[in-house]
Amino acid sequence: MKPHVLDVSHATMQFGGLIAVNDLCMVIDDEEIVSLIGPNGAGKTTAFNMITGMYKPTSGIVSLNNHDITGQRPDRIAAQGIARTFQNIRLFKALTVEENVSIAQHLRLKSGWPAATLRTPRYRREVTLMKRHTEELLEYMGLSEQRNEVAGSLPYGMQRKLEIARALATGPSMLLLDEPAAGMNPSEAEELKSLILGVRDGFHIAVLLIEHHMDVVMGLSDRIYVLNYGNLIASGTPKEIQKNEDVIAAYLGVDEDDA
């Protein structure tokens, strides 16, 4: 059997007395779209940060394609194939769209800095390939015309797209999207849905997504994990989750009289 792309097993993240994520177990398979949902403060972003190496889990193991990556540095994890976007867009704002995407390919550069400074033939070959890849990605995201514009000057929706393009440029086997539909209107969210599906099919990667837009979550996800107060309270297909009483209680609260 093929190993899971991502396997989080019994991961716990504790900040002093606060247990932000408690004993989280989740797996994601190839070309699967999985959502992580839960009320505000449930520990979704903390879970993301454990997977991408921003936090070192207090205990538990995170493995990518059967390799243990627990607690490794973010840049190492990125090089091994996990790319992410951020809840509050974090582009290189003063740099151009093109630069944003090409920086994400720096991790694959084999030439050292002296070779890069002297523009050796090998470095130039590498850069030509990077440029072509950048061009393809921008084309795919519909950002070709903005390639020389400063990233910070793009409209919000395009910034979201650029962040996804930048993440894809690292050549990931798995993409983590932190609230990609935040601040989008229904038609933009609809467009995002088809974009994510397209990315999954076009790049053959797994997608893990944190999202509050239930339309997006239910429409896209193969499976859903639900967190509440750091605990995993449910997991399953969108249909199962919609009927799950714990989930409904977590989102809407339980009426004291009924309980």
Binding site: T52, M54, R73, P74, D75, R76, A78, A79, A83, R84, F86, R90, L91, F92, K93, A94, L95, E99, S102, I103, A104, H106, L107, L109, S111, W113, A116, T117, L118, R119, Y123, E126, V127, M130, R166, A167, A169, T170
Partner: protein
């Protein structure tokens, strides 16, 4: 492709023109003018060194004076003739094998640079794990430590007496030669993939790291390269001055260079180049202000340091009106000049039609 050859041709022409101007200067200008011209080039090197770490990488390091001191002392000790060294070291004799060793100027500059780079690596190990103000203070501290060590290593640096009779190798050709090499290096390095990675760290560390840019490795690279260039600049300065002492490398030295970098624009090579000339020439010609001044009924017999007050005001004006320095992070390239010329001529035509 055609555009590329054109800009290469223009650059070559500019270099030839520069050499011509330098020849003219050397032939006709007074020694005083030549000294200022040389100092401009040295300050340019120092500013670019600092811009690499503070401007391009966005790390607020204040350790420059220390690295300059290493370069200056290394260059001085490796170029002063043996007989002169013997006369100078009166309190404690100079350690072997330095006492008899003299090397060509260029080699001495490179050795000084390499020493500073090695030291920067050691200092960087703890310092580059810090951020913002903490990093600034830590690097400042190390810079002072270097100065204090130099003051107290009597048998190597001649302590507080300093070093004299440093051969005046730093003529106009050396200064502008080194400056040109450093400009070309900075231009190529900052536009390479590594330079882009450094800029991404400046823009957003967290995002850069998540996109696979190893923070520590890249910061270290910038820090070490910057120290190397600062030391080369320090070596030139030592030879330019003829004498050096530990007091030359106080923190004020760092601030002087920082002023050029900020005025020109953090992260702009063109900015540092232009500002190096403005600041160096300005500091020289504003010397009048240090002398006696009579304005109407008001008279002073000369306040030394007055020009620096005026200079501070000028810097404030620049900061107020050009928030990111004269150039921001922009560069002057042949393409940008071409675009500017085109828009100017376009506007001219429109004006005529109207």
């Amino acid at each position: 492709m055609k555009k590329k050859t054109l800009s290469l041709l223009l650059t070559l022409l500019l270099c030839v023109a520069l050499v011509g101007v330098l020849f003219l200067l050397q032939g006709s200008a007074s020694d005083y003018l030549l000294r200022i011209a040389r100092l401009c080039a040295i300050n340019l090197v120092l500013a670019l060194a600092m811009n690499l770490i503070n401007g391009f990488t966005g790390i607020f390091s204040l350790g420059q004076a220390g690295f300059m001191a290493i370069g200056a002392y290394a260059t001085a000790l490796l170029t002063i003739p043996a007989a002169k060294k013997q006369m100078m070291f009166m309190i404690a004799p100079l350690v072997k094998p330095l006492d008899a060793l003299t090397l060509p100027f260029g080699m001495a500059l490179v050795i000084g640079g390499l020493m500073a780079a090695a030291l920067a690596f050691l200092i960087g190990l703890p310092c580059l794990r810090l951020r913002g103000d903490y990093l600034a203070i830590a690097t400042l501290g190390f810079s002072e430590i270097i100065r204090v060590i130099i003051t107290n290593m009597q048998n190597v640096t001649n302590g507080a007496q300093g070093l004299k009779s440093i051969p005046a190798n730093a003529n106009i050709w050396w200064c502008y030669g080194v400056a040109l090499v450093v400009i070309v290096f900075m231009g190529l390095f900052t536009t390479s993939s590594y330079g882009q990675a450094l800029k991404s760290i400046r823009e957003d560390e967290i995002a850069a790291e998540s996109m696979g840019v190893g923070l520590f490795r890249h910061k270290m690279l910038a820090f070490v390269l910057s120290a190397f260039l600062a030391a080369v600049g320090g070596g030139l300065l030592a030879s330019y001055n003829g004498t050096i002492g530990p007091d030359m490398f106080r923190v004020t030295q760092t601030y002087n260079v920082l002023m050029i970098v900020v005025m020109g624009g953090m992260g702009s090579i063109s900015g540092s180049v232009v500002a190096a000339f403005i600041v160096t020439i300005g500091q020289e010609y504003l010397r009048v202000l240090d002398g006696p001044i009579t304005i109407g009924a008001f008279h002073t017999d000369g306040v030394s340091g007055m020009r620096m007050v005026v200079f501070s005001v000028l810097l404030l004006v620049v900061i107020v009106f050009f928030r990111n320095g004269l150039f921001g992070t922009k560069e002057v390239t042949w393409t940008s000049i071409g675009r500017r010329l085109k828009s100017l001529s376009g506007r001219g035509k429109e004006g005529m039609q109207a």
